[in-house]
């Protein structure tokens, strides 16, 4: 192997990388907040919601969980314009991520709701709370706390999965890597650097979510 590694291009191209990292972070921040909100709604609908809503949500969840993210993205970005819905690449990427995370977090959160002891629902009812009030004030927060680690891993998985949004020309970190390799022909180095950045982002995101969990759920879970 007579290949000389060369990282001199970093000096010239680091603004692209920084921009890519910022867009990746922006995508996952919006994706996580909206995706988990959608997941909470769907979990409520599947576990406690009205009967007519359950099969709709179940179909949505199964469809998303059993098809690749790349195809969902292509369908939204290339397919929907033929129905007259033209989306920018970042909007399409964000919508795809929200829909994707929504389906996965729905199943995770539902597991948390179903692990709630029956006594909690009965206690809520005995205080004359409606079913929804019981869910909102008694069940929801401990349920989220129960599955917070699983939900955090899913957010990290979606962040890593977001590297494919470069395929619809959303300018995330992978897009920056592709751009650099097409300019410098330093493919291996460009992907090596961006892979390491992804690794750092994944570790950082996991830590951040763990700290965030400590803030959102200050009280210990009563079993």
């Amino acid at each position: 192997m007579n290949y000389v590694f060369e990282f001199g291009w970093l000096a010239q191209y680091y603004p692209q990388i920084v921009k890519g990292v910022l867009i990746t972070l922006e995508l996952i921040a919006i994706g996580a907040v909206l995706g988990i909100s959608l997941g909470i709604f769907c979990a409520w609908a599947r576990a406690l919601g009205p009967a007519w809503l359950k099969p709709i949500v179940a179909t949505y969840v199964e469809l998303i969980r059993n098809t690749p993210f790349l195809i969902q993205l292509f369908f939204i970005f290339f397919g929907l314009p033929s129905l007259g819905l033209q989306l920018g690449e970042l909007t399409a990427a964000n919508i795809a991520m929200v829909i994707n995370l929504g389906a996965y977090s729905c199943e995770i959160i539902r597991a948390g709701i179903q692990a709630t002891p029956k006594g909690q629902f009965e206690a809520g009812a005995s205080l004359a709370m409606s079913r929804f009030e019981t869910f909102r004030h008694v069940v929801l927060v401990p349920s989220l706390q129960r599955i917070w680690p699983a939900l955090s891993s899913q957010v990290v998985i979606v962040m890593l999965g977001s590297s494919v949004v470069s395929q619809i020309a959303a300018e995330d970190l992978t897009f920056a890597a592709n751009f650099i390799q097409s300019r410098t022909f330093r493919a291996f180095e460009a992907y090596m650097v961006s892979t390491l950045i992804y690794l750092c982002l994944a570790v950082l995101l996991r830590q951040t979510l763990a700290v965030l969990g400590g803030f959102i759920f200050p009280r210990r879970l009563v079993r």
């Binding site: 192997m1 469809l63 059993n66 098809t67 993210f69 290339f78 494919v164 992907y191 892979t195 690794l199």
Partner: protein
């Protein structure tokens, strides 16, 4: 301009589906073999082996599969070998699958009660014998549902190989779209084919898990 019927589209997509299935099988079987090796390293008594497996898993689970594909595709080329897309795709998917399966199986092995290890050790069994006759048969039962469940991720993972130019279902979808200008129909069909491949796996994983829970309810 040539007109394409829905059947024309579907036929071409189904032909490409063969490669998605083949690549999934290769990745899953190869990943299973490497994963087993990693599992042994991960639960070995040697500190170095444990650390190696731990960092391997951390690395492959903490970076995007797409980047791993790119590195396999462009990185192997540095050794002077002309890497075809299928080789890079297969290699990256096997290594990626292995990292997840090893971690899933480690959980299963560690859930076996410590008394089982001690009992088999007291019968004078070596570590390999303990594994082979006592731990594995029990761990295997627990491992089946999550392993089947993960196979769905493998099938979906193969979609990314279209980006480095391996022609499977997703790539065929792109090619057919470029020929027919009907992205809505084509990507809709592609999604349905993936669904048809993955849903039976998801469902059987759920059913297996439920069976397992019933069997273990009295514990």
């Amino acid at each position: 301009m040539i007109e394409f019927s829905t059947w024309d589209i579907l036929r071409n997509l189904l032909l490409a589906t063969r490669w998605t299935i083949l690549l999934s099988l290769v990745s899953f079987v190869g990943g299973g073999a490497v994963g087993l090796l990693l599992l042994f390293l991960r639960i070995s008594k040697r500190k170095m082996a444990r650390a190696f497996a731990k960092y391997y898993i951390e690395l492959f689970q903490g970076t995007p599969l797409l980047m791993q594909l790119f590195i396999a595709f462009f990185g192997l080329g540095l050794f002077g070998v002309d890497v075809p897309a299928w080789l890079a795709a297969g290699l990256a998917l096997i290594l990626w699958t292995a990292s997840f399966l090893a971690e899933i199986w480690r959980g299963c092995v560690e859930s076996i009660a410590k008394g089982q290890w001690e009992a088999s050790a007291s019968l004078g069994m070596g570590r390999l014998q303990q594994m082979r006759y006592v731990i594995f048969p029990q761990a295997l039962k627990i491992a089946v549902p999550p392993t089947v469940g993960f196979s769905v991720q493998v099938v979906k993972g193969t979609a990314l190989t279209s980006i480095i130019g391996f022609v499977e279902l997703s790539k065929a979808g792109t090619v057919v779209t470029n020929a027919t200008f009907q992205p809505f129909v084509v990507y809709g069909l592609v999604a349905l084919i993936y669904f048809a491949l993955c849903w039976p796996l998801s469902k059987s994983s759920q059913i297996l898990e439920r069976k397992l829970n019933v069997a273990h309810r009295n514990h």
